[in-house]
């Protein structure tokens, strides 16, 4: 079954950033510049957190606006980026009103969630997880 990443219960998020670190650790890095998931406060920590990550939309606006077909629909849901085709126009990031397409300044290309679930493996409070599409 194809999976996507989901925010299961944002109220359980403690803002530890373990998900962000886990995502960039896949690239051998400790930091956020390759991370496809972000946690930020919902306007002051007292209001809790917002987890921003690709929701694998059914009709993804990012795919619709990609001029080179670098971003295409994944079979059964979600999107896949073919970096070779990407020209770094940034339309996808503009089209995603969730703000879930981040930018890789080194490569000048988008960072899109691959639904691998590494981040969820480190979320011990079950705020995020992989779900079936």
């Amino acid at each position: 079954m194809v999976k996507r990443l989901a925010v299961l219960d944002v109220n359980k998020c403690i803002g530890c950033m373990e998900c962000m670190f886990a995502c960039s650790r896949r690239e051998g890095r400790v930091g956020f510049d390759k991370s496809a998931i972000r946690v930020r406060s919902a306007g002051g920590i007292e209001r809790g957190f917002v987890v921003v990550v690709c929701r694998a939309c059914e009709y993804p606006p990012c795919v619709k606006v990609c001029p080179t077909d670098a971003l295409r629909l994944r079979k059964d849901g979600g999107v896949i980026l073919n970096k070779d085709k990407c020209i770094g126009c940034g339309f996808c990031a503009q089209a995603c009103i969730m703000g879930a397409i981040f930018w890789d300044d080194e490569q000048d290309k988008p960072i899109v969630c691959r639904y691998c679930g590494d981040c969820a493996d480190y979320c011990v409070h079950d705020a995020i997880g992989l779900v079936d599409i």
Binding site: C16, M17, E106
Partner: protein, 594 residues
């Protein structure tokens, strides 16, 4: 931007007088002293001239992180060092939040701030870009408001720290703190006052880099990371600190008879009060959210939500207030509070003005007793009738400590050691080495800790833990002192790496070495860690001695010998003897094992 593990060696020097910066490679210090406390004390030795006024421009502020910072779970603390305006010697305070992550990922192992500015400034450190910004318009503002304004005006949302002072810092209250991420503090020993004396209102540090794990180390790093993560999340500490938080132990400590109540009039509050001020009660009635420091899965930070009617006509306000073991002790048990919500109101008031809550509670507890005994009068207190549990009066007193309408409040703002030297009542002025006491009245070890600890903090050598282990056992005082010294030395390693003390059971010597090796720091051994821990500890003590601290002359308030501990009544001669043993041990080892 990518940086190497060893780029921790970059130290940012900021001169507030000249509005100038430079970055220096201090591999020499990081190779030998790891980072955190170890590097900070060496930088303090270099930057702080002997005998200076702690509130003069010559006093440096040093922030330091360490080799494990941000790379492993719970390595989430920043060490601040400075000369303390409260004690006149070593000022060292630790804080989590996002501070450590931001400093490391901005590309620095330490930041040294010297000089003093005109006008009032706030500093932004955005990776390699450092800006000096006019803070004139936010000078008189409280810590929360300053945070809110800077959050909106500066970039880097989510991956930055905003370290700021409240009004108390600008007014040079000697125990003013610095606040980070609204709910975390460089609480103890007066960093806020030092920032105030430099005309530095806030520091915004944004993370814009990543640390690259060397390719040949990635597999090993991943394995060690997972091991540490697994141990952290499965540890007892994880459940304890996440469930009720640090407040979870208040009730048991009171039941044990080791909890200072009403300026240590007794070491145990009545059962009904203990239940009211327990972590369980705070959680059941007020807990609204648990949050964590960056890269810590525990989430020990407990936030309460307090809804209050503040004006007739249905004018309600809801305030989010952080609570912990120490604040509930200091303004709850110590001030004779009878209701948890009163305690929260006071925590909020002290946080808002930006003072160390432990010092504030102990100062007000002394003032309450001195007032009851007639040493001070309404003329001193500017009309306040200080009484246990009287929240409106204490709220007014907090305000007056900051605004200092009378000479009495000017003296209170200098700490209880000073105030009691002016008005008397030293027998019950509960400061050790000039720093107001923590809650513990558990036995002789907690007081050896308070007196000899480099920061006079219960976290220096955790004497309160040792006291509890020794209940019902015969023990030799030399062994107790030896064990406390060993604990304080090992904690220098933890605070140099820098890992949170709450995870001390996770970071054993063996695991520390594995964690270091997995990021390329090899050539370390258990013995080397032990020796370096000792060197750092002695360097801190030597700084204290250099600045006039004298263990032989240290004042011990008589009150602690008048109230039974779980070990019975303590005797002054035993405590003095322990201090002598301590002095001999640290000077004997100084030349030997190093």
């Amino acid at each position: 931007m990518l940086m190497k593990v060893e780029e921790l060696n970059r130290v940012l020097y900021v001169d507030l007088t000249k509005k100038d910066i430079k970055v220096r490679d201090r591999t020499d210090l990081f190779d030998e002293y790891l980072g955190g406390s170890g590097v900070a004390i060496k930088l303090l030795e270099e930057e702080c001239p002997t005998g200076i006024d702690p509130l003069s421009a010559a006093n440096p502020i040093i922030f330091a992180v360490g080799p494990l910072t941000t790379l492993y779970p719970t390595a989430s603390k920043t060490v601040a060092m400075f000369k303390s305006p409260l004690t006149g010697n070593l000022g060292e305070s630790h804080c989590g939040g996002r501070s450590a992550m931001a400093i490391r990922l901005a590309g620095y192992g330490a930041i040294v701030i010297t000089g003093s500015s005109d006008p009032l400034l706030y500093l932004t450190i955005d990776g390699d870009k450092v800006k000096f910004r006019d803070a004139s318009s936010i000078g008189g503002m409280d810590a929360q408001t300053v945070g809110r304004i800077l959050r909106e005006v500066e970039t880097g949302s989510g991956v930055r720290t905003i370290i700021r002072t409240g009004r108390a810092g600008g007014k040079l209250v000697r125990y003013a703190c610095a606040v980070s991420e609204t709910y975390r503090h460089f609480g103890r020993l007066g960093l806020g006052a030092v920032m105030g004396s430099k005309n530095l209102k806030a520091i915004v540090i944004s993370a814009d880099k990543s640390v690259e794990i060397p390719k040949d180390k990635r597999k090993e790093y991943g394995e060690v990371y997972d091991e540490i993560h697994d141990v952290v999340v499965k540890s007892d500490a994880m459940k304890k600190y996440h469930d009720l938080g640090t407040a979870g132990k208040l009730y048991e400590m009171n039941k044990l008879g080791g909890m200072a109540h009403k300026n240590l009039e007794s070491a145990s509050a009545p059962e009904a009060i203990a239940r009211e001020l327990s972590g369980e009660n705070f959680a059941n009635k007020f807990l609204s959210r648990r949050i964590s420091c960056a890269h810590c899965p525990v989430g020990c930070v407990h936030l309460a939500s307090l809804r209050e009617l503040y004006e007739p006509g249905y004018y309600f306000k809801t305030t989010t207030i952080p609570y912990d073991n120490e604040p509930i002790y200091a303004v709850g048990f110590m001030l004779g509070m009878e209701h948890a919500e009163d305690c929260l109101r006071l925590i909020d008031a002290v946080d808002t003005v930006g003072m160390d809550i432990m010092s504030t509670g102990v100062v007000l507890a002394w003032a309450t007793e001195a007032y009851a005994k007639g040493l001070i009068t309404k003329a001193h207190t500017d009309g306040l009738d200080l009484r246990w549990g009287d929240v409106p009066t204490y709220l007014a007193a907090v305000e007056k400590i900051v605004e200092m309408p009378t000479e009495f409040y000017q003296n209170l703002a200098m700490g209880v050691e000073h105030a009691s030297s002016v008005y008397g009542g030293q027998d019950y002025a509960l400061a050790f080495g000039g720093n107001e006491m923590p809650e513990y009245h558990t036995g002789i070890a907690c007081y050896i800790n308070n007196l000899t600890g480099a920061r006079h903090s219960h976290l220096d050598s955790a004497g309160y833990t040792l006291d509890q282990k020794l209940i019902g056992k015969e023990f030799d005082i030399e062994e107790v002192v030896k064990s406390l010294i060993a604990e304080e030395e090992w904690r220098q390693i933890l605070s140099s790496l820098v890992v949170c003390f709450f995870a001390r059971a996770v970071y054993t010597s063996e695991r520390v070495l594995k964690a270091m090796a997995a990021i390329g720091l090899e050539n370390w051994s258990p013995k080397k860690l032990e020796v370096v821990g000792r060197k750092i500890h002695r360097a801190k003590m030597n700084f204290k001695f250099r600045e006039g601290f004298d263990l032989a002359k240290i004042r011990i308030p008589k009150r602690i010998f008048e109230v039974p501990t779980p070990h019975g009544l303590l005797k002054e001669e035993d405590l003095r003897k322990a201090i002598e043993i301590y002095s001999e041990m640290i000077s004997a080892q100084k030349s030997g094992d190093l």
